[in-house]
């Protein structure tokens, strides 16, 4: 059965919500007083009152539950199987975290309630901030960024603010070719020019090339560590020292922090700013595209420039929510200096719902569990790499172990078959494909990140499936070109979608009753 759109089944007069209040119950012993219902003397909408229908279809609760339950079953998800998207860290989302986030004291609290009534929420922010700082070896953390790319922006703006504060108007940010697209986009958004950094034959940043490019116009470098090639940047400390010496700052993309959490602290490698994707390393659910959360840890040099609001701990160990209202006096009183914050990145305090989940995750894993997370993530990725390098081209396998993800290329595929075909073939084997065509530096790249929450049995099954599809790709199996064959949809025409964009349903919603079946799909 195909699932129609709500616009095709709903009508303007149907609803799954009643706003009615019951009258008084005639039940001895129950003190249910009839709610009063008064009418105001006049409306205050004036000429702004709506005059025409909006065109929103309604469904009753049974129809709504069924519609979305059916839709959900057309999705792949971590709860159904391995989700090996490289650089995305799709790990299991503990259900305790969901339960905690829904406690009324967290879920049903307004961001502008008087501080005295949200002490617990502030403690959550404080505790989480504390552990993020400890785990990264940094000096402070800006909690408000809403996602990884927002965190990158926060970090780059801290760098720019710090440079401006010393009157140093540098123009260039260096970014490796293998970087996430968000890195150059972010730096450009913050007004910088982007220059690429080349890689060496081991897939690492070419330290010499980088060093020779440094100079008074370079505001900083953005480096992903472990990199999007799944490799640890061995020279990061040396790079940091060189950048600092040249007066710049080092931004680290923390998307892949999962590989090293509890094992290495970026602060010890000279990093000045790094965002942490709570929805990756600390397993807040990705939800089909978000919400994320991207707190940014900062070195001492950048800390004074962090955005408002922030939760600051003072010498006595208590936590204070610092907003515009109190920022200056607070900074003076506790730190003896004026605030240099570059401003505000978002309304309110950040992704509280993700903070409760991430803190729950950290406390559940503890110091031993977090180390084990990194170790198992790396072990799983290396297991995948070594079990498949004979059948898939692994361009950097020679350089040693990988970190959290294994990178392959399409070298050796039969003429006419591509990474895309292999990916779609993997769908028919019951798995979500890996990240495709990224990083750009490897032809037909396939980036596999299994994460630590996959069992050996699940990995073996996945390896077997990928091996089989890879062999078919090398043998020139033409059926791959039309894969998937067993998915909810056959291959979708993305070109058509982009050439003639249909981005909204344009029909009329039925005013009343049930639209007759013949109309369904008849947009």
């Amino acid at each position: 059965l195909e699932e129609p759109l709500i616009f095709e089944t709903g009508s303007l007069d149907r609803t799954g919500v009643d706003l009615t209040f019951p009258g008084q119950m005639d039940l001895a012993g129950v003190d249910a007083a009839a709610p009063v219902r008064s009418e105001p003397s006049a409306s205050k909408l004036g000429k702004f009152a709506r005059k025409e229908a909006i065109g929103l279809p309604g469904l009753t609760e049974p129809e709504t539950v069924r519609h979305y339950t059916r839709l959900s079953r057309q999705n792949y998800a971590i709860d159904l199987g391995l989700f090996p998207l490289g650089s995305c860290t799709m790990k299991h989302n503990p259900r305790l975290n969901e339960k905690v986030a829904r406690m009324p004291g967290f879920a049903d609290v307004h961001p502008l309630q008087p501080v005295e009534t949200v002490r617990g929420a502030l403690e959550v922010i404080n505790e989480l901030a504390f552990w993020l700082i400890e785990l990264t070896g940094m000096h402070s953390v800006a909690m408000s960024p809403k996602a990884g790319a927002h965190g990158e922006l926060c970090g780059i703006l801290c760098i720019r603010a710090a440079l401006e504060a010393r009157g140093d108007a540098r123009k260039v940010v260096l970014v490796p070719e293998s970087a996430h697209g968000t890195n150059p986009a972010t730096a450009a958004f913050a007004g910088y020019e982007i220059e690429d950094i080349p890689a060496n034959s081991d897939g690492r940043v070419d330290f010499d090339a980088l060093k020779s490019r440094l100079g008074p116009d370079v505001a900083g470098v953005m480096i992903t560590n472990p990199s999007t090639l799944g490799l640890f940047e061995r020279d990061l400390k040396a790079i940091s020292d060189a950048v600092h010496e040249a007066g710049g700052f080092v931004y680290c993309d923390g998307a892949n922090f999962n590989a090293i959490v509890g094992k290495v602290r970026p602060g010890d490698l000279g990093v000045d700013a790094m965002h942490i994707n709570l929805h990756k390393t600390f397993s807040t659910p990705h939800g089909g595209g978000g919400p994320g959360s991207g707190p940014v840890v900062l070195s001492e040099a950048l800390s004074p420039f962090a955005p408002l609001p922030y939760a600051a701990r003072t010498a006595d160990g208590t936590v204070h929510l610092v907003e515009e209202e109190s920022a200056d006096s607070f900074a003076q009183e506790h730190f003896g200096k004026t605030l240099q914050s570059f401003g505000r990145m978002t309304a309110f305090h950040g992704q509280m719902g993700m903070f409760t989940r991430a803190l729950t995750y950290i406390l559940s894993h503890g110091s031993d569990g977090l180390r084990q997370v990194a170790e198992d993530a790396v072990l799983n990725a290396n297991y995948v790499l070594r079990q498949l390098e004979d059948v898939l081209h692994a361009p950097f396998a020679h350089s040693g172990p990988c970190m959290h993800e294994a990178l392959f290329g399409d070298k050796g595929f039969a003429e006419g078959l591509s990474t895309l075909d292999l990916a779609k073939g993997l769908i028919d084997e019951g798995f979500h494909p890996m990240t495709m065509y990224f990083p750009l530096v490897v032809h037909g790249a396939m980036l596999v990140e299994p994460t630590e929450t996959e069992s050996k049995a699940a990995l073996d099954q996945f390896i077997g499936a990928l091996r089989s599809v890879a062999e078919r790709a090398k043998a020139g199996d033409e059926t791959l070109k039309t894969a998937p064959h067993y998915a909810p949809r056959a291959r979708l025409d993305e070109t058509l979608a982009a050439r003639k964009p249909v981005l909204a349903w344009n029909g009329e919603v039925a005013p009343s009753g049930t639209p007759v079946p013949s109309e369904i799909g008849g947009q």
Binding site: A121, L359, H432
Partner: protein, 455 residues
């Protein structure tokens, strides 16, 4: 560890398989000096679910949940009743634990939902096209400003902000403008019964790329969007309308109908819940299809599959960072997918009938509250018009009054002193929001408590 499936036996077998003698062999690339040789200091070892739950519950109990008090806060975050089925649906593993729908053949659930969501938002805003959501209203607002600058191709650098734009939103725009070359015009609001649309229009000139107006504004007042739109368009500027309370649009005309070119806002009020400020849901729509390719964020579009069946994909991704890198329309990557789902489910449950009834109920209660508060000696209601939120003046610093009322177990509203700390002339004003979750008894409790504190 309950979340880690590898056993020691597995680890041994796998290390053998990769040819490593110990796990350290896999971390050889980490410089010796930087390797942590022990656990993170101070962090206890792993804890049972029960122990963690107790700890978190203890923290949660230190907060006063909105359900446990007469509650009247708004100012950009609104408390509405969310049907139980909304949370049931967003907890479906297939929605909760899916990734961005990069493989559309196995992500039609998320994609069809996003297509429906985009349509719902576009209709609510009176626009042609909405995107698949942004982080929140404040960042969506700034993205709209950036988009207007792109449309002006950097030739117009003046951004006119209404003085009654939510100060957090205004601050986000100002912050970002420090790093671009945009010039921001606009200040703090005056406590007038209606917004000073004339003054705003007076700021618009030929250098103006866009005008940003909140509707209803941060004081709850309703600006005359149609007039402002006319003035903006006459000057060649775009009108960006900002809405923080989507329920209002069940009762008042949509910004798109009134001429706004870009409509952005916060969707939290429908389906999402307060959550101490996040995650929320940025809504972003354009009235004219021609602006689609300048939009930030993900877009879901209709197409067909190889068998000719209707299906949905993410589209127009040449605008986005993962394709265009530094030339992208935005650096945004993550959207607010799960919140968009919650919004869409709640909106589907409401439908036209439910949304208009909900809006009417909010307005009824807000009008009642305004009338009753106005009867308290020392209290005056500022607004000429409002939806479910209005401003009262109470003749003394509202911050103190709010704190005193909180001590009495009443969450009375948002003081303008909290929102505009630098503007002493606003400090006797209090923003009061009344939704369907407040009964008339709650209104009476607020009136009684306020009367007591003011007397």
């Amino acid at each position: 560890m309950r979340y880690l499936p590898l056993t020691d036996a597995d680890r041994g077998a796998m290390l053998d398989a990769v040819g490593a003698s110990s796990i350290d062999d896999l971390f050889v690339d980490v410089p010796e000096a930087a390797r942590l040789d022990g656990p993170i200091r101070g962090l206890p070892t792993h804890a049972g679910e029960m122990a963690v739950e107790k700890h978190m519950r203890r923290l949660s109990k230190k907060n006063l949940a909105a359900a446990d008090a007469p509650f009247f806060l708004g100012a950009g975050a609104y408390r509405h009743h969310v049907p139980a089925s909304v949370d049931h649906i967003i907890q479906r593993g297939e929605f909760l634990t899916a990734y961005t729908p990069y493989q559309p053949e196995i992500a039609q659930g998320t994609l069809q939902m996003l297509f429906e969501f985009q349509t719902q938002v576009a209709r609510l805003y009176g626009c042609a096209v909405a995107n698949a959501s942004m982080y929140d209203g404040s960042t969506a607002c700034w993205e709209a400003v950036a988009m207007a600058s792109r449309i002006a191709r950097g030739k117009k650098r003046k951004v006119v902000l209404s003085d009654a734009l939510h100060p957090h939103y205004a601050e986000v725009v100002r912050t970002m403008a420090k790093f671009t070359d945009d010039e921001i015009a606009g200040g703090a609001p005056s406590l007038t019964p209606a917004p000073d649309d004339d003054a705003l229009i007076g700021l618009i000139d030929g250098e103006t790329s866009c005008v940003v107006v909140q509707y209803p504004d941060v004081l709850g007042r309703l600006p005359d969007l149609a007039r402002i739109a006319e003035a903006a368009h006459a000057a060649g500027a775009l009108l960006i309308a900002v809405n923080t309370e989507p329920v209002a649009l069940g009762a008042i005309q949509s910004p798109g109908e009134l001429g706004a070119n870009i409509v952005v806002g916060e969707g939290q009020a429908i389906g999402v819940g307060l959550q101490f400020g996040g995650p929320y849901l940025g809504l972003f729509a354009v009235r004219d299809q021609k602006h689609v390719r300048m939009m930030p964020g993900r877009l879901c579009g209709e197409t067909v599959d190889a068998d000719g069946k209707r299906g949905f994909v993410l589209t127009l991704s040449t605008r986005e960072q993962h394709i265009r890198r530094e030339k992208a329309t935005s650096n945004i990557c993550t959207n607010s997918g799960l919140c968009a789902l919650a919004f869409s489910v709640h909106m589907t449950l409401l439908g036209e009938k439910g949304l208009t009834a909900l809006a009417a109920e909010n307005h009824r209660l807000a009008c009642l509250a305004a009338e009753r508060l106005a009867q308290i000696p020392g209290v005056s209601v500022l607004n000429e018009s409002f939806f479910n939120e209005f401003t009262i003046r109470i003749g003394r610093d509202a911050r103190d009054v709010v704190r005193k009322l909180a001590d009495d177990g009443v969450l009375a509203g948002v003081s303008l002193g909290r929102l505009f700390p630098g503007n002493a002339e606003l400090h006797d004003a209090l923003l009061v929001c009344v939704t369907e979750t407040s009964g008339e008894d709650d209104i009476d409790a607020l009136c009684a408590a306020l009367k007591e504190v003011l007397s």
